[in-house]
């Protein structure tokens, strides 16, 4: 299977010409009868990638299950901005328990549904990167290992945004956060740390693991739908830029997500039973600098006292990704 089933039309803004596709190839979001699982009126920042990612993912899951979804949410931005006093944006059954226990709570929901014989109702658990790779990791690994019938979605904005942008184990090296300030000889987050959760998930041999970004709506929705074809533990890791925490323009969320993928900083792929089955190839390779320089969290690498050494280090990490997953188009690999 290829992740670029649809060859869409590109304009300078990277927008996708949905109108030009056949009706049945259009995205869930393109249909006026989409479910609006997370409805308008929530309080996310302008250009919040997480709000966008959740909207795409859950509406796709709703379509894949005929509207039979129960969602469990960890504490974090998504939880806070979607349930503003005294309202809620959720039009699906939704439960927030704690920051660190969403995978286990979801297991409980799945178990109850099984006990009641409700096979058609499916469970989606969702958390930020902090709730996934850090505090929720123990419960998540347990849920994977038991192969519980839960789709777990991580909205990765590479930091603890809800509490004011602190470092998580998903924060990239050199990024400034409130607990990795851009001061001292090695400004920002430390190199050589951090977790690659998609690969850790694969090591659990669960039926389905995939990564995606909010830049490619078709790919994201397709992966949600694919995930719903499996029973057992599934993991979807979505890169969701955060204008507030990354110091990026609200209007550039999609562009930045695309640059993350096209630079090799964020590999987009899917795997079944621990084996990679497809990758999204880089169509227009860009140096990491183009991705980094649009974000204030990397501002200390540029400007008056530039740090080309650190940029080069990040570039080499991107190249490792490119090599590991074979991210370049085969014809490009030939020509380069």
């Amino acid at each position: 299977m290829t992740s670029q089933r649809v060859h869409f039309y590109q304009v300078g803004s990277f927008a996708v010409g949905n109108r030009l596709l056949d009706e049945d190839e259009r995205t869930v979001q393109a249909h006026s009868d989409r479910t609006n699982s997370i409805d308008s009126g929530h309080r996310a920042c302008q250009g919040c990638g997480e709000a966008l990612g959740a909207r795409y993912a859950l509406d796709a899951a709703m379509r894949a299950t005929n509207g039979q979804i129960v969602a469990v949410n960890a504490t974090g931005c998504l939880e806070v901005f979607s349930t503003p006093y005294p309202e809620t944006s959720w039009r699906i059954p939704w439960l927030h328990s704690l920051f660190g226990n969403a995978p286990a709570v979801a297991t409980g929901v799945a178990a109850a549904l099984r006990a009641k014989g409700q096979k058609d109702v499916r469970v989606v658990a969702q958390a930020g990167d902090g709730g996934t790779v850090d505090i929720g990791f123990g419960c998540l690994s347990g849920m994977f290992e038991r192969n519980d019938d839960v789709l777990f979605i991580c909205y990765d904005n590479e930091g603890y945004m809800n509490t004011g942008v602190q470092r998580s184990a998903a924060t990239p090296p050199a990024a400034r956060t409130a607990t990795t300030e851009a001061v001292g000889p090695e400004p920002g987050n430390t190199f050589g740390q951090g977790k690659d959760l998609p690969r850790i998930a694969m090591a659990h041999n669960i039926p389905y693991v995939a990564t995606a970004t909010v830049a490619d709506l078709h790919d994201l929705e397709r992966k949600v739908e694919r995930a719903m074809e499996f029973r057992g533990a599934r993991y979807l890791h979505i890169l969701v830029p955060c204008p507030l925490g990354w110091g990026s323009a609200s209007a550039e969320t999609i562009l930045i997500a695309r640059l993350a993928q096209e630079s090799g900083m964020f590999p987009v792929f899917e795997a079944e039973h621990g084996v990679v089955t497809s990758v999204s190839h880089i169509r227009r390779p860009v140096p990491v600098e183009q991705y980094l320089s649009r974000q204030r969290r990397f501002a200390h690498l540029f400007g008056a006292n530039p740090r080309p050494d650190i940029v080069a280090h990040l570039q080499s990490m991107a190249e490792e990704n490119i090599a590991r997953y074979g991210l370049l188009q085969p014809e490009m690999e030939r020509s380069s």
Binding site: R43, A44, C45, Q46, C77, V80, F81, N162, L244
Partner: protein
């Protein structure tokens, strides 16, 4: 004790404004306390901050419920949030808008108040001119100094330069001065009109 409540939206520097005001009062040798309304608001959501200063030690920890002055950083909050609750008829109001106070559609709400204490100031325009960014908070403090006379302009100036170091401090200080002059001249205008 003089108590100020500042209303604005997340991202406009509402909390910073209260902090700077408290530092200015502190620099004048007074006791001062500034604190936010403690929400988990995102960018753009209504937020409130408070500042009180006094010649005596301040012990209270209650939010400012009966302000002597209200500063409104975002005019779109009018009719959305209860901005003037607890404001005494002797109180001051400073609103960030290029409209005049009487154009804001308050009806007879302020009939009992002193007209020369109700002012608007185009702080966003001033900020755009001096900072190049629509951050009205520092400028409004200059306006506040002119309107109330409770804090000297140069204390605000000093506190702003302390808070924003370097050229950003310079530019904010220029915005403070411009807003101070603007409001001071408006206050004079009103005073002249009422003595005529």
């Amino acid at each position: 004790m003089f108590q100020v409540r500042i209303h604005g939206r997340g991202g406009q520097g509402v909390v910073t404004a209260a902090e700077i005001l408290s530092v200015a009062a502190f620099d004048e040798g007074r006791h001062a306390q500034a604190f936010p309304s403690f929400g988990s608001e995102r960018t753009g959501a209504p937020v409130v901050s408070f500042c009180r200063f006094d010649d005596r030690v301040i012990r209270t920890r209650e939010p400012v419920m009966e302000p002597d002055a209200v500063i409104i950083q975002d005019v779109t909050l009018i009719h959305q949030v209860d901005l003037f609750s607890g404001l005494s008829p002797d109180g001051y109001v400073l609103i960030n808008t290029s409209n005049s106070f009487s154009d804001l559609g308050f009806g007879d709400f302020f009939d009992q108040y002193h007209t020369e204490r109700l002012m608007t100031c185009p702080a966003t325009d001033i900020a755009l001119e001096h900072l190049g960014r629509p951050l009205p908070n520092a400028a409004l403090l200059g306006g506040f100094a002119a309107l109330t006379g409770e804090i000297a302009w140069d204390s605000i100036d000093k506190a702003v330069r302390e808070h924003f170091a370097g050229p950003v401090g310079e530019r904010n200080a220029a915005a403070v001065r411009a807003a101070f002059d603007y409001v001071a001249s408006k206050v004079k205008e009103v005073a002249r009109a009422s003595t005529n």
